[in-house]
């Protein structure tokens, strides 16, 4: 496969539609393919495709599945609000925030000021929804809510203050999620439901 490249600026003509198909970060106007960004135009001569490779936005908006780190900025009725400081380990400066839905959490997994690691579950028109539903996600750093001293984790869902001994609930990184899919019965899964019903009935009338 032969791929040639050349640096281009936005709006620069990179090819014509008779020769190539426009792909990533290019657009077509009046039969001409132009670049959308400052970057390197890549000519895939085997597949006849042109794309532009950019250095990328410094201010990156997270996609679904991205891991973000941030600080809990507020706890509202609809859930905790997290101010995002890094996306996939890369620092961002674009002042974005995301929310965790109350329906996705049980108890008080986070408190105000906690440093958390979450996954982006939904991006609805750049409104980000977050979750901490796996073992590697959760609170990275927290302090005692009573005296502000350091805490030690008490698995599965608690932390204990090293100074005053106050025990509080948290979903720390490394803790298993408080609940997962297996705790719910899929309403559409009739077979499983019937099987369970039969099993329970049999046990009842044994």
């Amino acid at each position: 496969m032969s791929v040639d490249s050349k640096p281009v600026v936005p709006g620069e003509k990179v090819g014509v539609i008779e020769e190539f198909s426009p792909s990533g970060l290019t657009y077509e106007k009046d039969g001409e393919i132009r670049s959308l960004v400052l970057g390197e135009a890549m000519y895939d001569k085997a597949n006849r495709i042109i794309s532009v490779k950019s250095v990328g936005l410094k201010s990156k908006i997270p996609k679904v599945g991205d891991i973000i780190e941030g600080v809990v900025e507020a706890i509202t009725y609809s859930g905790p609000v997290v101010r995002i400081y890094s996306v996939n380990g890369r620092e961002v400066s674009n002042d974005l925030s995301g929310s965790m839905r109350t329906r996705d959490i049980i108890g008080n997994p986070v408190r105000l000021g906690d440093v958390v690691r979450c996954v982006v579950t939904e991006n609805i028109n750049n409104t980000l929804w977050l979750a901490m539903n796996s073992q590697e996600l959760g609170v990275l750093h927290t302090l005692c809510t009573i005296c502000g001293a350091n805490v030690t984790p008490l698995p599965p869902d608690k932390v204990k203050c090293t100074k005053c001994g106050f025990v509080d609930s948290r979903k720390m990184v490394g803790f298993k999620p408080f609940f997962s899919k297996k705790h719910f019965i899929n309403k559409l899964d009739h077979e499983e439901r019937n099987r369970r019903f039969k099993f329970n009935s049999a046990r009842k009338y044994r």
Binding site: P10, G11, I61
Partner: protein, 239 residues
């Protein structure tokens, strides 16, 4: 009144009628901004910084279908002969608006709904034609920030002094001349994004001035493109 054009058809600073002042451009000069550019256009010294796309504040200003483009053109107190108050003047607010409107057709704002893209332009030294220099620098800063754009935007002012059409008016020519006609365009798409005029021109004069402006925009575009590619190569070398 000062004589702006002498008998040899040379202007007060010794330029020919269609000659631009020397232009120097550099991109990626600020570490903390997402994109930045610096331009020296004659005695004009302008710096532009871009942030975004970022969360829109105040949130009620966010647009559901596209990004909000915010622009601030500001002149430093030491940028003019007499100290200028640092608070935004009527002229600065107006120029912020026209620069925003000159740049917005080029940016793919629909790609980033509910966010904001912020452009900050600081004029460190002013000498006429600072709006077109600001547009040129801001457009380069946007490209440096990696924001998708249909084309770069470049500007150049033309005007009429002593009854003759000239390119790139300096401060004295702007003040004492008859007409100033700033033009900004997207040279690859043949689209004009800014056209202003502060005096009367006949149909023929306008045609001649407009053609000259577009020619000079093309010249400025080459300088802007060269600066962007140099900045890009330096960035890739670092990475």
């Amino acid at each position: 009144m000062t004589e702006l054009i002498d008998k040899n058809n040379l202007r007060v600073d010794g330029r020919k009628l269609d000659e631009l002042r020397p232009i120097k451009m550099q991109v990626g000069i600020l570490k903390n901004a997402d994109g930045s550019a610096y331009i020296e256009w004659g005695k004009n010294k302008i710096i532009a910084g871009v942030y975004g796309p970022k969360e829109c504040h105040p949130k009620h200003m966010a647009l559901p279908d596209r990004a909000l483009l915010k622009c601030r053109y500001h002149m430093a107190p030491f940028s003019v002969d007499e100290r200028k108050s640092p608070q935004p003047s009527r002229r600065e607010i107006e120029l912020s608006k026209i620069i925003r409107e000159a740049l917005s057709p080029a940016i793919l704002l629909e790609e980033f709904p509910r966010t904001a893209i912020e452009i900050y332009i600081e004029v460190l030294q002013s000498d006429g034609g600072s709006r077109v220099a600001s547009i040129t620098a801001a457009s380069a800063a946007l490209a440096d920030a990696g924001i998708p754009m249909k084309d770069l935007v470049v500007g150049c002012a033309v005007g009429k002094i002593d009854g003759k059409i000239v390119a790139d008016l300096s401060d004295i020519e702007d003040k004492e001349g008859e007409v100033d006609l700033p033009v900004a365009c997207m040279p690859n798409l043949n689209s004009v994004t800014l056209l202003q005029s502060d005096g009367p021109l006949s149909k023929e004069e306008f045609k001649k001035a407009f053609k000259l402006a577009l020619d000079k925009c093309r010249y400025v575009y080459d300088i802007q493109r060269k600066a962007l590619l140099e900045g890009y190569l330096a960035k890739t070398k670092e990475a």
